[in-house]
């Protein structure tokens, strides 16, 4: 008699309708899903008021890193002048474009390495402490593309100035894990916060 009761209870749980529902919902969600992950790059525009204020107060302390994207390649300069004066005098950019299969290729990996070697690695220790920084505009870069430069080249350039190259892992103190520079907006806060390993993540775009 007791056995009969157990059997009856087992028969009550009919999973088939739930299974049917799940089997319909999953294909529907899979079909309408986007399998790419959309992220963001934070940028700013140069503002006259802010630039003037910096000039008046602490011009001598600013690095003033600027990357110009032209049809010929990348021109890199700081407040002190061109990063490659000899090439500039010959009318050549610091890093020239190459051509492959009729397509222009911008040397973004070389740009990343150049900025890292020349401007990040020698100065990062002096700029580690935010209260006693050597440069007032540390971590800031201005990117100035020419009008006809494709948008994807601008994004490539921003990636190159923001992220550290792979060799930084053995050369920069305190680097562990992945070399990723991430902007995060904590819930309830209005400002973005930087985390991870960043080179020059605060980019101003345009003239």
């Amino acid at each position: 008699m007791a056995r009969k009761t157990v059997d009856d209870k087992m028969e009550d749980i009919n999973l088939m309708p739930i299974m049917n529902l799940l089997c319909l919902l999953i294909p529907f969600l899979l079909l309408s899903a986007q399998f790419i992950q959309i992220g963001i790059i934070l940028v700013d525009t140069p503002r006259k008021g802010r630039a003037k204020k910096n000039k008046d107060n602490k011009e001598s302390k600013a690095l003033g890193l600027v990357v110009d994207i032209t049809q010929e390649g990348y021109y890199i300069s700081t407040k002190k002048g061109s990063a490659c004066p000899e090439r500039k005098n010959n009318g050549q950019p610091c890093l020239s474009v190459t051509h492959s299969a009729g397509k222009k290729l911008y040397p973004s990996a070389a740009l990343r390495k150049f900025i890292y070697t020349k401007y990040y690695k020698p100065f990062y220790k002096q700029n580690k402490n935010p209260e006693a920084q050597m440069f007032t505009d540390w971590r800031k870069v201005t990117v100035r593309p020419q009008d006809q430069i494709p948008y994807e080249t601008v994004i490539e350039t921003l990636d190159a100035t923001r992220e550290l190259p792979p060799e930084a892992k053995g050369e920069i103190d305190g680097l562990s894990g992945s070399l990723a520079c991430v902007f995060k907006k904590p819930q309830g806060k209005k400002d973005w916060e930087l985390s991870g390993a960043c080179m020059f993540p605060l980019a101003s775009l345009g003239r």
Binding site: I26, I38, I40, T45, Q148, P150, F183, K190, G206
Partner: protein, 185 residues
């Protein structure tokens, strides 16, 4: 033992034995088709899909030869703000088309001074005023002036620059560019 039973008793015992055997067979058949593990797997997939849907505050429709967002190493994720889509044929603000683009340029009628896009500025002013009013009602702090720009990878920088300058004139001063993540996170 069956020899001690009367024919009636033997008949009942045979019937009971048959019934028992039948039930055992049925149970064996049922246990061969166990859907509990399948249910578990399907439930996990469903939860994963629903969760991945909920994590993106905004969707960027990718259309070939129209709006393909560039790839990037960036691992930052977006937050909700005014979204502007610049495709090869139009500029769309919060789902409403405001300007037509022909041959990667904006006509001089739409941008009389060469920089400020008239219709875009009007639409942004309208959205800004709405946002300010909504924030005042909810006392949710100041207007942030953040804009999210999803532009096609092949369009020239001049177009993006015109949009940025118009945004600055409409007091949208912080920008996030949409990209397709090339690494997880």
């Amino acid at each position: 033992m069956s020899q001690d039973m009367s024919p009636e008793e033997a008949k009942i015992a045979k019937m009971l034995a048959e019934k028992k055997a039948e039930r055992r067979g049925k149970e064996a058949e049922e246990s061969a088709f166990n859907i509990t593990s399948l249910m578990d797997a399907l439930t996990i997939i469903l939860i994963f899909l629903l969760k991945s849907y909920g994590s993106d505050p905004m969707q960027v429709p990718q259309k070939k030869n129209e709006l393909m967002v560039p790839k990037s190493d960036s691992m930052s994720s977006m937050s909700e703000c005014v979204d502007i889509q610049i495709s090869r044929t139009s500029i769309v603000v919060k789902g409403k088309k405001v300007v037509t683009i022909t041959n990667n340029t904006i006509s001089s009628q739409d941008a009389p001074d060469g920089f400020t896009i008239k219709n875009l500025k009007e639409r942004l002013d309208e959205l800004r005023n709405k946002e300010i009013e909504a924030k005042q009602d909810k006392s949710a702090g100041k207007f942030q002036g953040e804009a999210f720009i999803a532009a096609d990878q092949k369009i020239p920088w001049k177009l993006v620059d015109q949009v940025l300058k118009t945004c600055v004139k409409a007091r949208y001063v912080r920008f996030s560019f949409a990209i397709v993540k090339t690494r997880g996170g």
